[in-house]
Symmetry: C2
Subunit: 211 residues, 2 copies
């Protein structure tokens, strides 16, 4: 997605040097993908090995000064999530952003993520509804392929901020396929305005959080 699949992680005296996505070094990235010999290698690891690596990613990477550290987790409430919360606790994380799709089966999963956040004392910065409606590029009619409104309803029910909806958007997929810069390439797309609004909303939530 970020066009860095062939890059390597280097070791320096103070730890692993993350991969920088752009020339300005404004985005630093760390992933187990960089540590595999071949991209098809399966990481057949049980929990304890995953937990050890998550801790290393927090403490042994030379992150330098960061505005934000974003951890993208798989769905669920298991090893990865427990270890991430535990490793970050000394750094007082701002909170969690929960992403759901609109339909009931997905919202049910995110409901359990909310319980997880409550149990572990992690503040919920808000909920995002992804794959939220599709506007046909041929006739401009909107179809709610995966139902509609489940994310907003859940946020209301749980008393947490609703950050916004991201529509299904073939231009977004195209950018992610090619590792392109979506914000530069498709400033008129529906997903562009949705994503920038969500980012602004999230920054507001985060600032009330750290103050």
């Amino acid at each position: 997605m970020l066009n860095v699949q062939d890059r390597d992680v280097h070791q320096c005296d103070s730890g692993w040097v993350p991969v920088f996505v752009d020339q300005d070094k404004s985005i630093a990235l760390m992933s187990i993908g960089f540590l595999l010999e071949k991209p098809d290698d399966a990481v057949v690891w049980r929990g304890p090995k995953k937990n050890a690596l998550i801790k290393q990613f927090v403490t042994d990477v030379t992150w330098g000064e960061l505005d934000f550290l974003i951890v993208d987790t798989p769905p669920g409430t298991s090893d990865e999530h427990i270890s991430t919360v535990e490793s970050l606790r000394p750094f007082k994380p701002l909170g969690a952003v929960l992403v759901t799709t609109p339909q009931a089966v997905a919202v049910g999963d995110v409901r359990r993520e909310l319980t997880f956040c409550k149990k572990t004392g992690l503040r919920v910065l808000g909920i995002v509804e992804n794959m939220s409606g599709f506007v046909c590029p041929h006739c401009s009619e909107c179809t709610n392929i995966f139902s509609k409104g489940g994310g907003e309803e859940l946020a209301k029910h749980a008393g947490v901020p609703f950050l916004g909806c991201v529509p299904l958007d073939p231009q977004l997929t195209q950018s992610l396929e090619e590792g392109g810069d979506f914000l530069q390439e498709f400033p008129k797309s529906l997903a562009f305005s949705a994503l920038t609004d969500i980012a602004k909303h999230l920054l507001t939530e985060a600032s009330t959080c750290s103050s």
Copy 2:
């Protein structure tokens, strides 16, 4: 999805009695969801507890005579997958069906699942491409929201059967939301013919496998 969310699992002398989806008892179901007190409860379990439950689901449920046992796993190649393969090995499982969406990021994950199957000696019955194109119900034009053809290409590359594509279909979502019988309700939908063709293809693969 199967309209059984309020049902309970009972204990009998020979183990847990699974939940039967229909009156004819043609589909028996077991899920951790049936064992939770409240549907919102998060199962905050590390690997060892999950592994123990997976083993129990194979050995301590009174499955009776089965034509097929289908295990739906999360994505990945970790505890759930290792434990499922290990628990089923004495029963000589027919193999794995891998489901991907068409775009490169998803295909990359499934490529690693293929490596996992190879490492653990699990035969790959085939690959299914899900969310494969969307035909607008208003203008009948097709849009490949998540790109196109990634699943078929991967199957070709890996030398395993390609079982077919399932299009994005709001009628399928609607059935799953309401726990309805999709095959009864929407026999004319695109997903109907796709799913029945895949099932037939899969049965053929499975029969060459067990003979």
